[in-house]
Symmetry: C2
Subunit: 115 residues, 2 copies
């Protein structure tokens, strides 16, 4: 990158950058928050997040699985029971996401931000 | 929303939801992080975030101004000097964003997440 300020460039940590955009993807924060309570089936997650579509929940869960934040468990039986739960990495987001929630309570007006 | 689990629906805080998606928008976390060091001119911010375009930085700064996280200061003179700085609300993100950074350092492999 060409710039007269090149010597002052702050090296932004790519991990920070990636983390913040992963967590901030539409509905991702909501999905993780639902799973803090424990593993849930697809339809249970869907019911807990007003406004999300089947397609988007599928997509977000797949991304979270790839990022190793969520893991999918299949219990054999009839019918087969599939649940989604947080990995240790996912559960460790409770601190950061809790901080964001408290920031939101301090600063965002409740009425102006309804979905 | 129709669901047999309706009685169990967790009311997700809309402020939390909005906060997390605001912060997680592409480049927004990086812009805020640059401004933790103090007010900066447009080109200074641009130079500190490898990969962002003029157009996207303009868009993100406008969104952050609307959200009252960033404020724009115009110093008259020749040439006019315009700087962008964090409001009190913006500075208060240092805690939450620091938590996310520490989570990223704990869990994301450095090499696999390069930009």
């Amino acid at each position: 990158m060409e710039s007269k300020h090149q010597d002052e460039i702050v090296q932004l940590c790519p991990r920070y950058h990636r983390a913040i955009e992963l967590i901030g993807r539409r509905w991702t924060g909501a999905v993780i928050r639902v799973l803090f309570a424990g593993p849930r089936r697809f339809n249970e997650i869907l019911a807990r997040i007003p406004g999300i579509s089947d397609r988007l929940l599928t997509e977000r869960l797949r991304e979270l699985e790839q990022a190793e934040i969520v893991s999918r468990a299949v219990e054999t039986g009839s019918p087969v029971r599939v649940t989604y739960g947080l990995t240790a990495m996912g559960r460790d987001l409770e601190g950061p996401l809790g901080e964001i929630g408290r920031w939101a309570e301090r600063w965002l007006p409740a009425e102006a931000t309804a979905l």
